[in-house]
Amino acid sequence: MLRFLAAVGAVLLGFLAGTGRLVIFAGLTLSTALTPPFYLRAILREIINIGYFSLPVVGLTAIFTGMVLALQSHTGFSRFAAEGAVATVVVLSVTRELGPVITGLMVAGRVGAAMAAEIGTMRVTDQIDALTTLSTDPLRYLVLPRLAAGLITLPMLVLVADIIGVFGGYLVGVYRLGFNPEAYLNRTHQYLETIDVVSGLVKAAVFGFIIALMGCYHGYYSRGGAQGVGQATTYAVVSASVLILVFNYVITAVFFGR
């Protein structure tokens, strides 16, 4: 029994220590944003890397998500003779939930892993120490531009995903399920409110920060050569994905919980 409690205690202490280290890492990085120099070129490079190069995968995921959502909701609602709600369900689901979450998870897999691998490799090959010896703060030079780019780029990506996802629903609704195009678009407009889109974009900004933070954090503290870097990428993707789902609930509760 004592051994069991000791094991549980060790896990809990490890979790708390890890959380504390993550918060300090984020705090130290954000504190570098208060004073120059600012690496704007690095931020722009990361925005292109996260945003532009993620467009194909985000676009594909969004269009199929919208399509399958239209198909499934039509199947379900036809049992209650409520097929007319398909357009509304698609647009609300995509803007509030599926757009941000699917985009976040796809970008976590593509970009979070790449960040952890790049920074992890820099760590195990002494490149981060080299930055320090060249009077350059690694947090300011490597981490802050990625956090800023994640924060800026994810909302843009989610906006694109929202449009493509709704378009996917429209394609299935009109060409497969036989809805009148004008009526479908009217229904899409009718019940969509600003808060639906805004809540999705707020989620996206938070998810972008989480993805970049977890990628950089696990890469920065990776140890032990190629195996350590591999582990860092796995932890980066898994932890970012879990946190995205957790914060998705928290933000939804804040916006729509009443």
Binding site: P37, D126, D129, A130, T132, T133, L134, S135, D137
Partner: protein, 261 residues
Amino acid sequence: MSDTDATLKISVRELRKSFGRKRVLDGVNIDCASGESLVIIGGSGTGKSVLVKCILGLFHPEAGSIRIDGVETTGLRHAARERLLQKIGMLFQGSALFDSLSVWENVAFGLIQGRGMERPAAREIALVKLAAVGLGPEVSLLRPAELSGGMQKRVALARAIATEPEIIFFDEPTTGLDPIMADVINDLIVKCVREVGTTAVSITHDMVSARKIADRIAMLHQGRIVWCGPTAEIDDSGNPYVDQFINGRAEGPIRMEIRAA
């Protein structure tokens, strides 16, 4: 040399550093005078790299004093540490060149990011430094991954001297190179140090390299300096640890930790 000696560039006193239960540095005392080339020798895992990383501030020692130009550096805050590092250059064992940057951007990195120099001016200096280590402008646009190990060391050396630092640390500068390339690197180090009058601290277990670049040699064993003296005296040190090490004998007071299968 005393602590108050005005020519003392680096002074380390009773430095201690552990990782978990393993004590790596156990009261290191060592001095390096201005313009001197000091080489620290010792077997693998004796704490040579840890000592240098403590001096650079990359590791925080548990106890002891590190003075550079008479200023205590162990408790330096971030901005003061960055200012201190502006007078230090470092050549890493694995070169540690930035993969995402071209050769000239690597060499000019300290000038652009550390000192805020404009890119065209920094590029001119980078090309001069590359020429100083025997590399032409055609190499400047390549990526580090496109270079051989010897060329990477030369680029790393060019980066270390680009800001014309007062102190340069060399971590195993010839490890992994063939004897001819190792000699080329040794010559370049001697040339860079002697011409500019830089203070150099090198760590190596390559005795050929140590004899060539050192004014003074110190031996680190089990976290302590067990011998320190002029290069010319190393063969007559009378120290059993030094004798075993420089002659590469398996028998002697230094016991390698080899676990039986």
